[in-house]
């Protein structure tokens, strides 16, 4: 690692320690906001790990969040939470493997709408199941305290960032980028595209599954319409694209912005909040596809071209 790498690492450790101490300093409301922030970071970083790197844009990540929540709810007071929440994550990852097998052959906009359709399909399937079981929502009583949930969510957020960073600099990340650029050429240099895509898709579903489990403990009420809401998928994509979907910093920045925006607007004018998100998504896809972080990076590096200026989409190579 370079000196700069060490410095960055140190800053990150310090930031994590500070964040872990937040429950001591913040009131219930502020801690709730901080929890939301960690949630969006964990979701968006996980999404970027697959969709940002591979170019297969999933508009269905809500399904992993929802499935994780459902598993946690079903196992409530059956199994201990330290077991059931990760099990929710594993279930989400297994579901991703199952869905990815047929779906990851479909490319481009068709993959996007397919993921959305599947997420909606599973939502209605869960609704039907719950109706058949005679359940109209499930109430969870005696869930862990906000502080516990926050610390757990913080851990997931940090984990998701670490996973993205490691994947980016590992063989898997190189394979995903190659697939994003040209899948046929990727196969021709020895990349097993199916295996690479499937494993990355499953990995990117794991953390959202656990996030769903934690969030259902926070809301203490499970209702499938809410837990599987496509708005979650939409927000994840917007957050990641806003910040820049193939760096660790991008989804982090996007989440900060989102939480700020939601604090200003969500309770007072939820529709206006959604309108702003929609406008931002369209504007960034069309005009700033590299995201805020990419744009800033390009701006900073612009004056000094040459070997040191690396294209923002490049594979990161550890020296």
């Amino acid at each position: 690692m370079t000196r700069q790498g060490w410095q960055t690492g140190l800053v990150l450790v310090a930031a994590t320690a500070l964040a872990a101490a937040l429950p001591l300093a913040l009131g219930t409301y502020s801690l709730g906001v901080a929890l939301d922030l960690m949630m969006w970071i964990a979701l968006a970083e996980s999404w970027a790990m697959f969709s940002g790197l591979s170019g297969y844009v999933s508009l269905g990540h809500a399904v992993f969040y929802g499935v994780g929540a459902y598993v946690t709810v079903l196992l409530w007071q059956v199994l201990p939470l330290w077991f059931s929440v990760p099990l929710g994550g594993l279930t989400a990852a297994a579901l991703a493997l199952l869905l990815g097998w047929p779906c990851l052959r479909v490319r481009g906009p068709y993959f996007v709408i397919l993921t959305l359709g599947i997420s909606e399909f599973i939502k209605y399937a869960v609704i039907s199941t719950e109706a058949a079981l005679g359940r109209n929502g499930r109430l969870l009583i005696g869930t862990p305290s906000l502080t516990v949930l926050f610390e757990a969510m913080l851990a997931l957020a940090v984990l998701s960032m670490a996973v993205l960073q490691i994947v980016r600099s590992a063989r898997l990340g190189a394979g995903l980028l190659a697939i994003r650029e040209d899948e046929v050429a990727a196969e021709a240099v020895g990349i097993n595209a199916t295996a690479v895509k499937l494993s990355a898709f499953a990995m990117s579903a794991f953390i959202p599954g656990m996030v769903g489990g934690l969030m259902i403990l926070r809301s203490t009420y499970f209702e499938p319409m809410q837990a599987f809401s496509p708005t979650t998928s939409f927000t994840i994509v917007t957050v990641a694209i806003l910040g820049g979907s193939d760096t660790v910093a991008g989804p982090l920045l996007g989440s900060l912005f989102l939480v700020l925006l939601s604090e200003l607007l969500w309770t007072r004018a939820p529709e206006v909040y959604m309108i702003i998100l929609g406008v931002l998504l369209v504007a960034f896809v069309l005009f700033v596809p590299e995201g805020l972080v990419g744009r800033a990076g390009r701006f900073l590096r612009a004056p000094k071209p040459g070997p040191s200026s690396r294209d923002h989409r490049a594979v990161v190579i550890e020296p």
């Binding site: 600099s169 063989r171 190189a174 394979g175 980028l177 190659a178 994003r180 650029e181 040209d182 046929v184 050429a185 990727a186 196969e187 021709a188 240099v189 020895g190 990349i191 097993n192 595209a193 040459g306 070997p307 040191s308 200026s309 690396r310 294209d311 989409r313 490049a314 594979v315 190579i317 550890e318 020296p319």
Partner: protein, 243 residues
């Protein structure tokens, strides 16, 4: 001693045969040319060998192993690399990363990025792209992209390299440079080459042996000197074309 052997290989699309009963063998270290008009089946033959497509009939052996029907990535890992006639660089990535990816995943499966990058730099120097290493691939000229296509295939660490019209569209001086580059790669990296080319003179200069395809079937095989005087080849191609 053969490295690659095709036996009665054929491919048809919905009843139309693109390639019929093609058999030939290539020994280690050889440079063999595939010649023929558009639609003669040259690129189809490459796709079948490289696993991009599955043959409808016949068998293909590489280094003693059956490879027909194996997926492209598996064939690449065994040590066959190909270029594409219409180049397919990883356009948004830097030139060097195009090679790093191939080195990480190809036959060599370099363990670390450091090793992959070292290998990539070495190859870039050999093909004359060292100065362009950190440029995005999409900013290269056509000649540059053709070189990158070859360089990326070499980075995968092949024993057999399939070159599909890497000279097409280049100027006369660029062709001469590219030929030197290919010869140098062949020598230094102990490659076996199968080359598709329209530039007839380049093919006769480069290859020890030429296979001529016509309407999906082999009509001649032999040294360049033999092939250009073969009556079937003259009837099919040379009679109407200037050499």
């Amino acid at each position: 001693m053969t490295l690659l052997r095709l036996e009665d290989v054929g491919k048809s699309y919905g009843g139309v045969a693109a390639l019929r009963g093609l058999s030939f063998a290539v020994g280690p270290g050889e440079i063999v040319g595939l010649m023929g008009a558009n639609g003669a089946g040259k690129t189809t033959a490459f796709s079948l060998i490289a696993g991009t497509q599955r043959p409808s009939e016949g068998r293909i052996w590489f280094d003693g192993k059956r490879i027909d029907g194996k997926p492209a990535y598996a064939v690449a890992r065994l040590g066959i690399a190909r270029t594409f006639q219409i180049v397919r660089p990883f356009a948004g990535l830097t030139v060097i990363d195009n090679l790093v990816i191939a080195a990480l995943y190809g036959r060599l499966r370099e363990r670390s990025r450091g090793a992959a990058e070292a290998r990539a730099r070495e190859i870039l120097a050999e093909v004359g792209l060292a100065a362009d290493a950190t440029r995005p691939a999409e900013t290269l000229t056509l000649a540059g992209r053709k070189r990158l296509e070859v360089a990326r295939a070499v980075a995968a660490g092949p024993r057999l390299l399939l070159l599909d019209e890497v000279l097409a569209g280049l100027t006369a001086s660029e062709v001469a440079e590219a030929l030197d580059m290919i010869r140098a790669l062949h020598r230094r990296r102990r490659l076996t080459l199968v080359v598709i080319e329209h530039v007839m003179r380049a093919l006769t200069q480069l290859c020890q042996r030429i296979i001529v395809l016509h309407h999906g079937a082999k009509i001649a095989e032999g040294s360049p000197a033999e092939v250009v005087v073969d009556q079937r080849v003259i009837d099919a191609y040379l009679g109407t074309r200037k050499l």
